[in-house]
């Protein structure tokens, strides 16, 4: 495996990387290591840090910001993800299938049995991450990606398995619809789109404490998981 470095070819890339690094360094050189950039009494971040737990009931204030205070942005983000995956699916499925002269080696018994054992654990862990998004680090995006990587393992170990694209598309659409529907519930009951209308259930730190936040994160988790699985299954090809 001969591999030769050709420095001249890579000079623009290295220069660009150095430029970006210098810009970032210049922007943050005055901020002390590990300190907040804005540290005033009335700043937005301080308000979120001190008030989010009482206002939303979510112990993890990253989740409170992502799903509650900036919930509309998250809806847009999910839409962008959907558009990206749809565009990539359209491009990939329009391409001719890759050559199949090399038949894949069949998986060994150890791999198939082990995958059957590990896959439910991975899916359980992903669901845990997105259900507990308001209590512990993580959330819908992370949990969805964990589930997708579990299904990806299944896809790699069992090459003849065909991903159920219709079911994936259906669950993705239903999850997206329920996200928008929860927003409309907030609009109808509280007067604000994505308003957290259920509140006061339990104390902060309990699973039910955060009102609509876990429901939204469950919808995002299912949506991201289905989207990523479908995308990689399309990318793998052979079942268009």
């Amino acid at each position: 495996m001969m591999e030769r470095y050709d420095i001249h070819r890579s000079i623009p890339a290295i220069l660009l990387a150095l430029l970006v690094a210098a810009t970032i360094f210049y922007a943050f050189v005055e901020v002390g290591f590990g300190e907040a950039k804005v540290d005033e009494e009335g700043s937005v971040s301080n308000r979120f840090i001190s008030n989010s737990t009482q206002e939303t009931g979510s112990s993890n204030f990253v989740t409170a910001v992502v799903v509650n205070y900036r919930g509309f942005d998250t809806l847009g983000e999910v839409t962008v993800l959907f558009l990206a995956s749809a565009g990539m699916g359209a491009i990939v499925s329009a391409l001719p299938a890759g050559d199949k002269r090399k038949r894949p080696i069949p998986p060994s018994l150890i791999l198939t049995a082990g995958t059957r054992l590990v896959l439910p654990l991975i899916i359980l862990f992903g669901s845990y991450v997105f259900v507990h998004g308001h209590l512990s680090p993580g959330g819908g995006f992370q949990g969805g990606v964990i589930i997708a990587s579990g299904l990806l393992l299944y896809l790699v170990i069992f090459p003849e398995w065909k991903a159920p694209h219709k079911a994936l598309a259906l669950s993705e659409s239903l999850a997206g619809l329920s996200f928008a529907g929860i927003g409309i519930i907030g609009l109808a009951v509280g007067g604000i789109f994505l308003d957290n209308v259920i509140s006061g259930l339990g104390e902060a730190g309990m699973l039910v404490s955060a009102g609509l936040i876990p429901l939204i994160y469950i919808a995002i988790g299912i949506k991201v998981g289905a989207e990523m699985t479908g995308l990689v299954a399309r990318m793998k090809g052979g079942d268009a």
Binding site: D6, P137, Q142, L152
Partner: protein, 89 residues
């Protein structure tokens, strides 16, 4: 003492990540470059944990080092593994 240890760990990991990134850019073997890129993501997620941003760390670890790497490997498998040089070899 803890502060110095923290900064030393931070510097070592950053240098490792930069070295891996440069190696990935220069490599002609695309599979190798993909694996190095996944390693950079893994180190970045470790640095996020050090900076107490576990949410970002989870996203970086699962997306950067699992999904992106696998998508790139699938793309490489359907095309070519070795980059063809522009100019003399």
């Amino acid at each position: 003492m803890m502060e110095e240890l923290f900064i030393a760990l931070w510097v070592i990991m950053s240098i490792l990540a930069i070295a891996m990134a440069i190696h990935a850019v220069l490599s002609r073997d695309l599979i190798k470059a993909t694996i190095l890129m996944a390693g950079v993501s893994l180190i970045a997620s470790f640095l996020f944990v050090l900076l107490r941003a576990p949410d970002v760390a989870m996203a970086e670890a699962s997306i950067g080092s699992a999904l992106t790497a696998i998508i790139l490997v699938l793309a490489i498998r359907n095309t070519k593994r070795f980059e063809e040089g522009g100019g003399e070899k």
